[in-house]
Amino acid sequence: MSDSDGGNGLDRREFLKISGVASAVVGGTGLGLFGYAAGKDPQTYLGWQNEEGASEIVDHGKYEVDKPTYEKVGPTSRPDARVENIFSRRGRFMRQYRRMQTGAEMEDEVLAAYYEDHPEDLELDRLMMEEIYPKLRADMEKYGEQYLLAVAWSDAMFAVGPDRVDGPPDVADFPRPDRMGRVPEKARMKDPARTSELIKKVAHECGSTLVGIARLNPDWVYKHPLQGRGFENPDDELAIPEHWEFAVVVGTPMSWDPMYANPNYGTSSDAYARSRVIATRVAAFIKALGYPARTHIPGNSYDLMVPPIAIDAGMGEQGRHGVMITPELGCNIRPAVITTSLPMQTDKPIDFGVQDFCRYCKVCAENCPSGAIPFGDKEEVRGYRRYKIDTSKCVNFWNSNLGSMGCRICIAVCPYTRKANWLHKLALKLSANDPTGVSERALTGMHKALYEGPDPQDYYIPSLGGKNASYRKPPWWLRTEDFIDLG
């Protein structure tokens, strides 16, 4: 075929022009289908598809820094879990509230002292008992049935779990005699770096999506232990045992589709249950090597705050919503910790641009129905500068939901909590590697324009002025009305 073959059929140039147009159409269609496949692919829901570390798709080494991205700005102190851990305080308050209903005075001195300094928290704690619970009860009667499958899924995931730690550290942490009555001696580990590799491999084999190791910072250990952790008197100060030298942090994500359908269809139970089983297995492995180990696991069976330890272990950074953001899973991770003296090489903290991103983004604050997430700057909390979350407002909202209880909207809306496909990996690379901040602003703007959610007020139950809204539609297998006749 020549450039012009004198009218004998198509000339070469015409043929190339038509082929070019056809190639553009076919190639474009191919790219569209590639995108569809990437968006649909369940393999990009990290942490549920595979184990053995296959989900660690980001090279943390590129983002390693010497210090974590939170700042120490003053004298530090340990958190008083009795009142600063919202679940512990609410438990104490509920006991006192029942007493106070009979006309008696508040007899819990610790709680009374806390409320004297934080009267706004007393107001919010009372609000839960006096307004939220009665209204929730009424709405559950009306609308609760619709969330039956979500509740059933949550209950099923939490049905299996290890026993809680049943004694103080000097007893419960140490290896127990085997069936021959022998207590395992400390194995002579060859090299801390190899031991780290071993423990991480074991954690992955146990099902952990991400694993990190840090030296335990005493500032993260509760000043007083929580109840149910085997301490004789939870009001006594918790003396940090010498063998809590290292912290192994494990973590798994919540199932992705229900997580996007928060607050009504999601649950924390799935990831909680997986993480606590993994932590218990890793602790058992360490004890079998003759070293002490103690688990700190969901729900609320901790002697310490987990997220800052995970940040120290290089798993992620703290976001505006107070939740740790990882490069792999965004903030869709539920971690657990094992404290031990097994000598290991620790991981370095990472900086992949979260602090800059969160300064501009504020998507979580804009979508938070309770107003618990600040729009403003970081504040000093026990000597560290961080975004301060109003946990009372937060928990009041997630106690007011139908479904399996909880909120997690900040996790669902966070731009980092996205599937691990080409599009979101590209966005992550841009934001992590652009020192100018231009891409962060552009990505934030695009996220807000493209991934709109309901009005925050609509997330509330109708009795509290909302519409039972969810961020995204539930997955097909949690739509109760498709399986069960609703009355």
Partner: protein, 106 residues
């Protein structure tokens, strides 16, 4: 769907891209458009932008984000169309105008 994760898919896309380049070259010769490296660079950038737009729409539909697919498709699509017009004008730099050609022919 596994085919879209395969090396064969990108090999096929590469071939289609080459054919597109040959087609553009034929168009350029037809119209006596002088071709330079920066014109090809602009063409490459535009292909990336158009490809991104199509893949973005597909990905958003696959993710169950129809609003993002529509809004993103319109937004990036508009940019791609404007860029196509700009690209065409860039390509035409140095080309004889139609009037000149007609005069020459007559």
């Amino acid at each position: 769907m596994q085919i879209f994760n395969s090396g064969f898919f990108w090999f096929a896309e590469g071939i289609l891209f080459c054919v597109m380049v040959l087609g553009m070259r034929a168009v350029a010769r037809d119209r006596s458009i002088p071709l330079t490296w920066w014109k090809w660079l602009a063409f490459g950038v535009w292909v990336l932008l158009a490809g991104f737009t199509v893949a973005f729409v597909g990905t958003s539909v696959g993710e169950g984000e129809p609003t993002a697919a529509v809004r993103g498709g319109l937004m990036f699509g508009f940019v791609a169309i404007v860029a196509a017009v700009v690209l065409w004008r860039v390509w035409m730099i140095g080309a004889p105008s139609r009037t000149t050609e007609k005069v020459a022919e007559s």
